[in-house]
Symmetry: C2
Amino acid sequence: MRLAILGLGLIGGSVARSVRRDPAVSIAAWSPSGAGPRTAREAGVVDLAAATIEDAIVGADLIVLAGPPLACLELLDALGGELRPSIPGGATITDVASTKGAIVARANSLGLPFVGGHPMAGRERSGFAAATDGLFEGRPWIVVPGSVATSRDVLRVEGLARACGARPLRLTAEQHDSAVAAISHLPLVVSAALVEAVSGADGGEREDWSLVRELAATGWRDMTRLARGDPGMAAGIAATNATALAERLRDLRLVIDRWLDELGSDGGPGDGPDAARLAERFRQIRARADERAGDD
Amino acid sequence: MRLAILGLGLIGGSVARSVRRDPAVSIAAWSPSGAGPRTAREAGVVDLAAATIEDAIVGADLIVLAGPPLACLELLDALGGELRPSIPGGATITDVASTKGAIVARANSLGLPFVGGHPMAGRERSGFAAATDGLFEGRPWIVVPGSVATSRDVLRVEGLARACGARPLRLTAEQHDSAVAAISHLPLVVSAALVEAVSGADGGEREDWSLVRELAATGWRDMTRLARGDPGMAAGIAATNATALAERLRDLRLVIDRWLDELGSDGGPGDGPDAARLAERFRQIRARADERAGDD
């Protein structure tokens, strides 16, 4: 079994570290800068730090596109174009990016043997230095077969997920994009919108921002952590999952309108909303939030 | 110097632990259940676990209301009513609750020698067991003098803040409530609204919630941590700061509308919003988010 990983940051690097546990797999890695693959080669995490994509995919059974969504689209264009003759016969192509609809559609239109993948795991830090072989342990790894993919292609990608300790979960691209829009992309944009609402949008700064930011404590830090992530990655997510994300944002706007109704109402004694009703609403929300999986 | 603390959870307990470093101060504590004060007495953190509010405030120079906002309103009513004869002459009353407008107004209307306080610090855990003498170290402690307070009252409360290692910051109740609505209460309601938007509001459950919650990772956990806090505390905050909070929610709604415009626009190649413009927006947001104080 030979694996080619194109892009070797947090996710690609963690795939390499996880797969490395099986001595029967050889791993070649390429990235635009070459820095991650060089470090990984020196650490014995990959067998080859390839100078070019062609070199990386020689003899590969499975080619993993491990860049952000927009980079995956470019890699697919290259693999479906000038690099097509270099793809080994019978090789499977997969990715690990956060959106699936645009990427799977591109692979389909290029007629590539593609099975989209998305391991549901991340860390605050990025880059190969943050990669770890435990990142995917017990996490869902969504698998979205492309139109040209055979069942062998799908099994290979599910095998990669299992080799990384993850649980493969087969979905359509639409199911995936709607679900991650809710659980991952909406929180990202909400975090960004919160910063804009409080500090000033459109490049302007609110006059009270210098006071307000002095008071920031742990709650603000948590709620704005996603907004402090990589802007290029965030833009790629928003650009390639815009429709599902917009739908979730409209859901949120409706909920915010209900909060405005509630806060504007009068609970009885004439001095504000009903605290008991608010407490009941917060109690229901807490119960709901506690239902979700993925907790530490 | 004698301190009476009414309510001994995370904040009141941390005040006690901080002040305890000065052997010249004696501390009496009372709480509705009595559990925190008993534990604190056994641990030597307070000198007296008082059975009643009257017992706690005997001889006190400074009375600290350390319950949530709605409990503070009730304590003020009691101190301004049946307990008024028990307040030692020359004593100062303060609080440590998250909203100031309603509380300071109530104290003013009762003619109490009140200086509102709000240490800008917190922890995920609550209760006396989570209290620590380092909680307020280097943090702002907002001080809002009431209309009956003398400069000696204000200096006492600022002295308490400094004894806890905090930096006193004098504001009006309006400045405080608007600023904490932005940095603390808006994030709380946004966290709650996010849970409702994704899992279903009004007690209903969205049909995709069982799938969606399976995919939850660190981003979702961070963004919903505030929604998993104490519902009574959250309700008290929303109820006593409804006006400022609603104003901030309207600001956020405007920003969300701008995101919907951006996501619905077409960046050129006919397949979605412009990724470069989105990246620039995320870059500006990250720079803004990094400006704020209070980071670890």
